[in-house]
Symmetry: C2
C-alpha cells in the first residue's frame, strides 16, 4: 500500500519525469555471497523469479510489485521488515548519477565497511532528490526450510499489541506480524471470501527449520492465549499461506471494494511499539468521530500502521477531512517519539511535517541537498525546500 | 582489536582533542521498545551492566570495552556482527553538535522511518568529521535463552572458509563465526593456556532456544565434518564459553606476548565471502615471504579479517615493510570487490586508499564535508581532504 508504487518515476525540473522501468536487467547473482546486482527497473517479483533455483530470495515486500529502484528511493519496507529489515538494510551498494552528470558508485559487495561516509544510506530514501539510482547491489537471504503462517483474533487492540510487544521482547524471530482492525477484517472477509471473526486480528508468519518454526509457533501461541487470543488458524501449506497473505496484501482493494466508487487515502505513521496500542486506540476514536470511514492495518512488529480512509474523490469536504485527520495522526506520532512516515516516504503530502519531525536537522538536509544539487533540478520541492 | 579504542577522542583543528568520556550517563532504558539512550562516553560493558535484569543486551562487541560514541563514530562491529549487525544497524538516532555549534537530532526511537535523508547513518562512521556525537539511541536485543559455543579445526583455510560460506548460505543464524590461523592458534595456546590443535580453526557461538541452539550446532557440525573438521569442542557452560571468547579477544595480546618487546600493527580488510579463502591464502603467502611475523584472525561470516603483524617499534625497515604489506592487502581487497577497512575506520592510515576505493564518490564526500564543516575544524584531514 503506498507511494513506492510510483517510486520509479523521478520528476526532474521543468515537469519532466525519468521513468527507469526499461532499465530492467538482473546484472549478476552471486549465490555464495548472497547478493544480486540489478538495474533499478527490475521489480521485486522479477528479482525473485530470477533467483529461482538458487535457494535464495529477496525479502523486502511492500505488497505491490514495486520496482527495486523505487523501493530504494523511498526506503520501502512492508510486512517482513520485522525480520529482514527495510531497503536501508537490503541495499549494499549502488550506482547513481548526480545532478551534474557525474556517476558515482557507493558501498560495494561486502557485508560491512568503515571506509568513509555512508553514501549508500544517504541515497536510499532520498526520493530522487540527490541522485538518480541506476544500479543496486542487494542483499539476499536463504529461503527458509519451513514456513508457517497463522491468524488469531483478540478481545481488543491492547491485547493484540501487548502480545506483539512480548513476542518481540523475548527475541522470537517472527518473520511477519501484522495487525488488522475489525473494520479491515470485515472488508477482507467480503473481498477475499474469508470467514474470520470480526475482531482485532494478527496475521503471522514464522521462518526457519521445521522444529524451529514449530517451536516459535508454540511459544507465540502461549503468549497470545495469555492475552485472550482465540480462533487460531494455522496454515503450513503453501496454498493456505498464500491465500492468507493475498488477503492481507489486498487490504487496500478490500477497503476500496467496501464502498464502490470511493477513493482511498492511506496514512503511514510509526511509533515506538510501547506507544502503539494507545496510538491505535486514539486514532480509532478519531476515525469514529469523523464522517469518513477508515480501516487500520499495521506492520506492528515495527510500530508502523496505516489508516485506509474511504473518500468521495469529488468532495472538497472529504479532502479537507483527510487533511485534518492525517495532521492529527502525524502530530500524534511525533508526540509519541514517532515518525510521520514509516515506509511510504515524504513526497508532497508529508512536506508540511518535516520541520516538526526534524527541527534543525532539516537545515542540515538542506545543506546536503544544496551541496549535491545546487541548481535544484532533481525532484525539486521534495523532502526539503532549498532556494 | 583496533582504532575504536581511541574513537572517543575527537581531534579538532589546532591540535585540540575532545574527550567525551565524562559524558558517561545512561539516560534511559526502554525495555518494551528494546532501546536505550546513552551519552557517548558510556562503554559497551557499562551499558550491558546497566541492562542487567531487563532480559536485554547490547550486542555490538569489538572486543575492547570501547565507548559507544567512539564505536558509532568509527562504525565499529566485531565478533557478532554476522548475527546482530554493526553500529550502522545498532544506532536508531543520535544528537550531534555541528561545526557551527548547532545541535541536531537525527533518527528517533522508531524501528524504521522514510522521513528524509538518513543523517543518522551519515554521522555513524564519519569519525567526528561532520559533527560531535553527544547522545545515542541504541537498539537492544533480547538475551538468548541458550548459548552454545564451539571450536573446531580444519585441514586447511579453504575447508574452513567453505564451511563458513555454506553455513551462511543455508541461513543458519550463527551468532559468531571466527577464524584463527595456525600462527594465531599457537600464540593463543601459549597466552591463554589452551591446548588447541595447531590448525586453521573456527570459533563459533549459537544463540536461541535450547532446541534451536542444539539443532544449529548439529547442522553446523554436519557441514563442518563434510569439510574435514576435527576436534570439536563444545562449551555450553558459561565458564567454558567465557574462557574461549576471552582467548579470541586476547588474540592481540597473545600475538604481542609471542614476541616480547615487539610492537603490533593490525590490518583490517573485508571482501565478499566467496573471495575470502583466496584472499587469506594469498595474504598468508605475503606474510611468509616477508621478514615480519604475522597472524591472521577474522570475522569470517562477514568476510572481514585482520593480520596481526609483529614489529620492532624502533625499526625503520619494519615500518616500511608494514606499509608495503598493508598496501598489498588493501589493493588485494579492492581487486576482489572488497573494502580497505571492515570495521576500524579510515583514520590516517587508510587515507591513501580512499580514492582507489571510492573513485568519484570521494568527491561527493568532500562536498558533504564542505557543506557541513566549511572551515574544516572537525577532525581535519580524516576520511576526505578538503581545501
Amino acid at each position: 500500500v503506498g507511494s513506492s508504487l510510483e517510486g520509479h518515476v523521478t520528476p526532474i525540473r521543468g515537469g519532466v519525469s525519468l521513468d527507469m522501468m526499461r532499465m530492467n536487467r538482473v546484472l549478476a547473482i552471486h549465490p555464495q555471497d548472497l547478493d544480486a546486482v540489478v538495474q533499478p527497473g527490475v521489480t521485486r517479483k522479477e528479482l525473485n523469479a530470477a533467483l529461482k533455483g538458487t535457494g535464495l530470495f529477496f525479502p523486502v515486500d511492500p505488497g505491490a510489485d514495486a520496482s527495486l529502484g523505487g523501493m530504494a528511493a523511498t526506503r520501502a519496507s512492508g510486512t517482513n521488515a520485522v525480520r529482514y529489515g527495510t531497503m536501508k538494510d537490503a541495499v549494499l551498494g549502488l550506482e547513481a548519477v548526480l545532478a551534474d552528470g557525474r556517476i558515482i558508485r557507493t558501498g560495494g559487495r561486502t557485508k560491512k565497511s568503515s571506509a568513509g561516509y555512508d553514501l549508500t544510506r544517504l541515497l536510499v530514501g532520498s526520493e530522487g532528490t540527490l541522485g538518480i539510482i541506476t544500479e543496486l547491489t542487494l542483499r539476499l537471504h536463504g529461503l527458509p526450510e519451513a514456513i508457517s503462517a497463522a491468524v488469531c483474533a483478540f478481545p481488543g487492540v491492547e491485547a493484540a499489541v501487548t502480545t506483539v510487544i512480548e513476542t518481540i521482547q523475548m527475541g522470537l524471530p517472527v518473520a511477519r506480524i501484522e495487525f488488522l482492525d475489525e473494520a479491515q477484517i470485515a472488508a477482507c472477509n467480503a473481498y477475499s471470501k474469508l470467514d474470520l471473526a470480526i475482531a482485532p486480528t494478527l496475521f503471522l508468519e514464522f521462518h526457519g527449520s521445521d522444529t524451529a518454526v514449530a517451536e516459535q509457533a508454540e511459544t507465540f501461541g502461549e503468549i497470545a492465549r495469555d492475552h485472550g487470543a482465540t480462533g487460531f488458524d494455522w496454515a503450513a501449506r503453501e496454498e493456505d499461506r498464500n491465500r492468507l497473505w493475498a488477503a492481507r496484501h489486498d487490504a487496500y482493494w478490500a477497503a476500496k471494494a467496501a464502498s464502490p466508487g470511493a477513493g482511498v487515502y492511506v496514512t503511514d505513521a510509526c511509533v515506538p511499539i510501547s506507544r502503539l496500542a494507545e496510538c491505535l486506540l486514539e486514532t480509532r476514536a478519531d476515525i469514529d468521530a469523523s464522517p469518513l470511514t477508515g480501516m487500520m492495518v499495521g506492520h506492528v512488529g515495527d510500530g508502523n500502521f496505516h489508516v485506509v480512509l474511504l473518500i468521495d474523490p469529488n468532495s472538497e469536504a472529504d479532502a479537507r477531512e483527510v487533511e485534518r485527520l492525517t495532521a492529527r495522526i502525524a502530530e500524534r506520532a511525533l508526540a509519541m517519539d514517532g515518525t510521520v512516515t514509516g515506509e511510504h516516504g515524504v513526497g508532497l503530502g508529508k512536506m508540511r511535517f518535516m520541520r516538526a519531525e526534524h527541527g534543525p536537522a532539516l537545515d542540515a538536509m538542506a545543506e546536503i541537498k544544496r551541496a549535491l544539487d545546487p541548481l535544484n533540478i532533481l525532484n525539486p520541492g521534495k523532502i526539503v525546500e532549498i532556494n
